[in-house]
């Protein structure tokens, strides 16, 4: 189902069901007004989000003003590119000038942010229409939590379940068709896990690919901003709009930004793919294991050379990352822990406290461990163009405040690519029990986002998962 060149063949009766690519074609050709599109999204949010709680703040007036400006600009011949007129939303740890950043926490002041985050500025410059700020684990860590000023977002596929996290609202909002584009952040898996749970595409890019300036930190040396969209092509468009060097972010990479969309050739013949089966077989649920194995087999039928490869146990990556994270998180939140610990949600407080006793030697040894693990993982890219493994070891967790705490499990299949800082794309690969989505990860060498997106896109074109949408239910209005 390739992108139609002729916009008139698009069904625009429900523009919220379309992705960035199709919307861009329709907007550019004048067949769809950005104002109509934005209004449709806002209406859908108003109708269904009181059940899903994906938004914390909806910036409706601003959105419509931006949409009108975009419409005028495009009509006047000033088309900026494929993100022009596209509604998007931001995980509520990303600053927008004039809008408060809550971090889903009592700890943040009500006052509006004084400057756009770098990624916000880029998406605005690309002509995006900001619809609002999305729910998240508290400070991208403490969740899912029911003791915060706003409820946790729910999974649009089945509201008895959660959408993963910490970019929980981002995953839910895109899956629900509220916005075709959202920014999440990913430290140990926080873009890829919600993408997996919500049946959408989520990219953790290379560390430093997208600037972290103006984003509340979780772990300085492991944080990444990432696009969350319905398809791989949409992801490529959004990545192109948000990637780039920012000298004011000390971790930002001064690397050229390739044409990610042009790289979506649809052809993966001859590509060497390493399947990291020992990370999921035996530990993931049966439905996940079968789905990932099937997806790998499909990649082989598309012409890729898929070969199993054994990598170190995921626990090692998790331990190294957790030691580093907890040290940095404690340092970040220490002033509040000392003066007003009661203002934290319980999960954030518990998860951050442990960092107090970590010694510098332990932190340094964890960094040394990280270096070893990163080198080991990167060596695989001499052999393979990409690595594939499960997106998450189980489908979405139940929305149960007393349910098992994923954090205590400590092991997950997203951490390794965070530790190495290499790009990893979460791609929907089917559905399991309770109608819940399943996913795989496709990872590549540093700055090889184009390779990873090409594989995700080729898989997508051979399947229909991305054409399905959850059926939403509107809540009883208050």
């Amino acid at each position: 189902m390739d992108l139609p060149h002729d916009a008139s063949r698009l069904d625009l009766s429900d523009p919220t069901s379309l992705g960035i690519a199709e919307l861009g074609v329709a907007i550019r050709s004048g067949l769809l007004s950005p104002v109509t599109l934005t209004q449709a999204c806002l209406d859908r949010i108003a109708r269904y989000d009181n059940v899903l709680h994906s938004f914390i703040t909806v910036t409706a007036d601003r959105a419509l003003a931006s949409a009108r400006a975009a419409e005028a600009e495009i009509a006047g011949g000033g088309y900026r590119g494929p993100f022009h007129g596209i509604p998007y939303a931001l995980k509520d740890i990303v600053d927008v000038e004039g809008v408060p950043t809550t971090a889903h926490s009592r700890l943040m002041p009500d006052t509006p942010a004084t400057a756009d985050a770098h990624v916000t500025a880029l998406l605005e410059h690309a002509g995006g229409i900001l619809l609002g700020k999305l729910g998240t684990f508290e400070f991208a860590l403490g969740g899912p939590s029911w003791d915060l000023p706003w409820p946790p977002p729910l999974n649009p596929w089945n509201t008895d379940f959660l959408p993963g996290g910490s970019s929980s609202g981002s995953g839910a909002a895109v899956a629900a068709g509220f916005v075709p584009a959202a920014i999440g952040t990913d430290t140990g898996g926080s873009v890829r896990w919600p993408a997996a749970c919500c049946g959408i595409v989520g990219l953790k890019p290379t560390y430093g690919r997208i600037s972290r300036r103006g984003v509340q930190p979780n772990t300085f040396s492991i944080d990444h901003c990432g696009p969350m969209t319905r398809t791989a092509r949409d992801c490529a468009i959004m990545l192109a709009a948000s990637a780039g060097y920012d000298p004011l972010d000390p971790g930002s990479a001064d690397e050229p930004v390739p044409d990610y969309v042009a790289a979506l050739s649809g052809d993966i013949t001859g590509m060497r793919i390493g399947l990291i089966r020992n990370w999921y077989a035996g530990e993931a649920t049966e439905e996940v294991t079968e789905a990932v194995d099937r997806a790998a087999a499909l990649l082989a039928t598309l012409g890729a050379i898929v070969e199993e490869v054994v990598l170190p146990d995921i626990g090692q990556y998790a331990d190294a990352k957790t030691l580093i994270s907890m040290s940095e998180l404690y340092t970040i939140h220490a002033p509040d822990l000392r003066t007003r610990p009661e203002m934290f949600g319980a999960k954030l407080r518990q998860r951050v406290m442990g960092g107090v006793f970590i010694r510098a030697e332990d932190y340094l040894n964890a960094q040394r461990w990280r270096a070893d693990l990163a080198r080991g993982l990167n060596m695989q890219f001499s052999r393979f163009d990409a690595l594939v493994t499960a997106g998450w070891l189980n489908a979405a967790d139940p929305a149960d405040p007393n349910g098992a705490d994923f954090f205590r499990r400590g092991r997950n299949v997203t951490m390794p690519f965070s530790v190495a800082g290499v790009p990893s794309l979460s791609v929907p690969i089917g559905f399991g029990a309770h109608g819940l989505p399943l996913a795989m990860q496709v990872a590549g060498a540093p700055f090889a986002e184009a390779t990873v997106l090409r594989i995700g896109h080729a898989y997508e074109q051979a399947t229909e998962w991305h054409t399905r949408s959850p059926i939403l239910h509107s809540g009883v209005s208050a």
């Binding site: 290379t206 560390y207 040396s221 000390p250 940095e328 939140h333 270096a371 990167n378 800082g421 700055f447």
Partner: protein, 67 residues
């Protein structure tokens, strides 16, 4: 800033650090830690969350040579 650790506190901290020292070296540690502690107490705290430490993770540094 905070209370200085007592001699017994330091013995505990040392044990936690895996240092099982004879009394003479323990005394060295107590004195040395006193100096280090004074230094640490002068390091500014109470910073905004976004203040970044002087470290950068550069993923390409971990590629095998020649890549």
């Amino acid at each position: 800033m905070t209370d200085s650790p007592s001699h017994d506190d330091i013995v505990l901290l040392a044990r936690q650090a895996g240092l099982n020292l004879p009394p003479a070296y323990l005394q060295e540690l107590v004195e040395a830690y006193g100096n280090v502690r004074q230094m640490i107490d002068r390091i500014p705290t109470g910073r905004p969350r976004g203040d970044e430490p002087a470290h950068v993770f550069v993923p390409t540094k971990f590629l095998p040579a020649g890549q």
